[in-house]
Amino acid sequence: MELVIKDLHANIGDKPILKGVNLTVKPGSIHAIMGPNGSGKSTLSNTIMGHPSYEVTAGEVWYKGHNILELDVDARAKLGLFLAFQYPVSIPGVTVANFLRAAVNAHRAEEGKDPRETAIPMAQFRKEIREQMAALGVNEAFARRYLNDGFSGGEKKRIEILQMSMLKPSMAIMDETDSGLDIDALKVVSQGVNTLAGHNPEMGVLVITHYQRLLNYIKPDQVSVMMDGRIVREGGPELALELEERGYDFIREEVFGNGN
C-alpha cells in the first residue's frame, strides 16, 4: 500500500516547520527525501510517526485506509510503519532482547485474544534474533545489554536495523540513518535495509538524508528535495547525483529566486 501525505502542515510550538508537504511513497519503491539542514526532513518523519512535540495544523497522511494522524503512535507501528531514529533513545534496565520481544509481541497481538496465545514462542524468538544479529554483525552479547545504553552511534544504528529486521515493516522511514556512521557501518546498515526490502517486494522505504552518500548503497527509485517545509523538486536517482555535484543552492535559486 502506498503512503500518501497530503498538504501536511506541522509546528513546533508556534513555529511552522512543515508548510504543505505533498508526497506519495509507493509500495515496493525506495523514495529518498533530500534537503539541507533545517528544511523540515526530520520533522516530517517524526510527524508521520506521531512525535508529541510536533503539532499537526493541517493535512492528512493516509496509509492502509487510515488517516494515521488520528491513530496512536503504537497503532501506526502496528499498521506496518517503522521509523529508524536519527537519535535512538536509551532505555536503561530494559535489555535489547526484552525490548524486541515486547515489540514483536505487540505486533502479533490481536484484539480480543489472550496475548499469551499470540506471543512468539521463545525458541522461535531466540532463533530469529540470533540470525538477524549475525546478519548485521552485532555481537550476541548485545541482546542482554540495556537498550542503547552506552552504545556508540554505529551500534545504535545497527540496533535500529535489527529492530526493523525483526518487525518487518511494510513502510520504513529511515531518518538520517547515515549520520555518524563510518563507511563499514554504513554498508552493513544499507545491506540490512536492502535485504529486508528484497525479501518483501511490497515494502516501501522512505530514506531521509542530507547527503547523497547513503544513496550509493540504498538506491532510490525516486528523489524528492525538501526546502523550507515543502517538497520543491522531484526526480529520479539522477537528481541525487546532481545535488551531490552542484549542492542545494541551484535549486534554492530556482525555487526562491536569487538572493534568498
Binding site: 503504537d74 532505555i91 515486547a102
Partner: protein, 392 residues
C-alpha cells in the same frame, strides 16, 4: 512464657523487664526505658508523627517470623530472644554497639521493648554460600518490635535478606545493627512489604571494618507510613558500600528513607543509587546526608537519586545533604532527577508498537531493574517484581 504488654500509653518500667531474661539485659532495657521516657518526641521535618497514632501500640510478646538458612558449622541464625540466653558472650558485646539503646527516642523504645528479631552470627573466615532469609511479621497484638543483630566477623561472607511482611498488625518498630569485621563481605537486602495499614519506624545501621564491604539493597513498598533512618558508617580504612534502594509509594502511602553515609576511615568508597516511583497520591521522601568526617582521607563518594512520577498528584521530596570536614576528598559526585516518564522514551517504544501503558510499565521496571537484580533469592525477586508490576 509469654508476657502481655499493655498499650504504649499505659506501659511502665516494670512491664519492660522480661523475667526470664538475663540480668544484664534487664538492666539494659531499664536504661533504654529511662532514656525513652525522659526524651521528647523528635521533630521530623518530613514525617508527621501524629499520623502514626502510637498510643495504641501494643507489643506482641512472642517471637514472630521465619528463617530460611543453610549454615556451615559455627554460623548462627536464631531469634535474638533465644540468642541472649544461649550465646550471651556473642550477643552482649555487640548489642547496642551500633544503634545505642539510650539514643534516639524510638531506638530507645525499641531497646526497652523488643521481642522479635534475629541474631545472625558468621564467625571469622566463614563463607555462607546460600543466602539467608529472615522475616519479621506480626504476632498476637498490633505491634511488632524487632531487633536484629548481625555480626559478620573478619573475612567472613554472607548474603542476608531481612524482610518485613505481614498484614495483621498496625505498628512496627525495628532496629537492625550490622557489624562487619575487617575484610567481611556482606550483601544485605532489606525488604519492606508490609500490609496496607502498617506504620513502620526503623533504624538500620551498618558499621564497616577495614577493607570490609557491604552491598546494601533496600526495597520499600509496603505499609501506610514508613520512617526508616539508615546509616552506613565506613569506619574502617578501605571500607566500601554499594547502596541501592527502590521505593514505590502509591495511594495514601508516605514512605521516607533517611540514609546517612558516614566516611570515617581512610580511602573509603561509597556509591548510592536510590530510585523512587510515586503514583496516585503516594509520597516518598529521600532525606539523605553524606558526611565526610575530619580524619578521613582519599574519600570517593557518589550519590544518585532519581524519582519517577506516574501521576500528577504524586509527590516526592529529595533532600540530599553533604558535609565535608576534611580537605582530602578524592571524588564526590551527585546526580538527581525527578519527573514524569520521559516522553522521548515513550515515543520510541510506542513507535515500535508497544502500547503506552506497557511502555510505562517497562520503563519503570527497567528503572528498578538494577535493584531488583540484587535480590539474592529468585522466588523473592519474582514475588517483588510481580508486586511492583501490579502496583504500577
Amino acid at each position: 512464657m509469654a508476657t502481655k504488654f499493655p498499650v504504649l500509653a499505659e506501659l511502665s518500667a516494670t512491664d519492660v523487664v522480661v523475667s526470664h531474661e538475663p540480668v544484664w539485659l534487664q538492666e539494659w532495657r531499664q536504661a533504654a526505658w529511662q532514656a525513652y521516657t525522659t526524651s521528647t518526641p523528635p521533630y521530623w521535618r518530613r514525617t508527621d508523627l501524629s499520623a502514626y497514632d502510637l498510643a495504641d501500640m501494643q507489643v506482641s510478646a512472642e517471637h514472630h517470623g521465619n528463617v530460611v538458612a543453610t549454615l556451615p558449622a559455627g554460623a548462627i541464625v536464631k531469634p535474638l530472644a533465644q540468642a541472649v540466653r544461649e550465646h550471651a558472650e556473642l550477643v552482649r558485646p555487640y548489642l547496642g554497639s551500633v544503634v545505642a539503646a539510650t539514643g534516639a527516642r524510638y531506638a530507645a523504645l525499641n531497646a526497652a521493648t523488643w521481642q522479635a528479631g534475629w541474631f545472625v552470627y558468621i564467625p571469622k573466615n566463614c563463607v555462607v554460600e546460600q543466602p539467608i532469609q529472615v522475616t519479621i511479621g506480626f504476632g498476637a497484638h498490633n505491634t511488632t518490635v524487632a531487633r536484629n543483630l548481625i555480626v559478620v566477623e573478619r573475612n567472613a561472607q554472607v548474603s542476608l535478606v531481612e524482610q518485613y511482611a505481614g498484614t495483621s498488625g498496625k505498628y512496627a518498630l525495628s532496629v537492625s545493627e550490622l557489624v562487619l569485621g575487617d575484610g567481611a563481605l556482606v550483601k544485605y537486602c532489606a525488604v519492606q512489604t508490609w500490609g496496607a495499614d502498617v506504620r513502620h519506624i526503623g533504624y538500620q545501621v551498618a558499621k564497616v571494618g577495614n577493607d570490609a564491604s557491604i552491598e546494601w539493597s533496600a526495597i520499600n513498598m509496603g505499609g501506610l507510613h514508613q520512617h526508616i533512618e539508615a546509616e552506613t558508617n565506613l569506619a574502617g580504612n578501605g571500607s566500601r558500600v554499594d547502596w541501592m534502594a527502590a521505593t514505590v509509594a502509591s495511594d495514601g502511602q508516605r514512605l521516607l528513607t533517611a540514609p546517612w553515609l558516614r566516611h570515617v576511615g581512610r580511602a573509603t568508597e561509597a556509591h548510592m543509587d536510590f530510585k523512587t516511583v510515586v503514583k496516585g497520591s503516594g509520597y516518598a521522601t529521600f532525606d539523605g546526608m553524606i558526611k565526610i568526617e575530619g580524619g578521613s582521607a582519599e574519600t570517593v563518594t557518589r550519590l544518585e537519586e532519581h524519582a519517577l512520577h506516574l501521576s500528577p498528584q504524586a509527590r516526592s521530596d529529595s533532600i540530599p545533604g553533604l558535609k565535608i570536614d576534611t580537605n582530602d576528598v578524592a571524588k564526590a559526585g551527585h546526580a538527581s532527577t525527578s519527573g514524569e516518564v520521559d516522553e522521548e522514551q515513550l515515543f520510541y517504544m510506542q513507535a515500535r508498537g508497544i502500547p503506552k501503558d506497557e511502555a510505562v510499565h517497562m520503563i519503570v521496571m527497567g528503572f528498578f531493574e538494577p535493584v531488583l537484580d540484587r535480590i539474592p533469592l529468585e522466588s523473592l525477586r519474582e514475588e517483588i517484581t510481580t508486586a511492583i508490576a501490579n502496583r504500577i
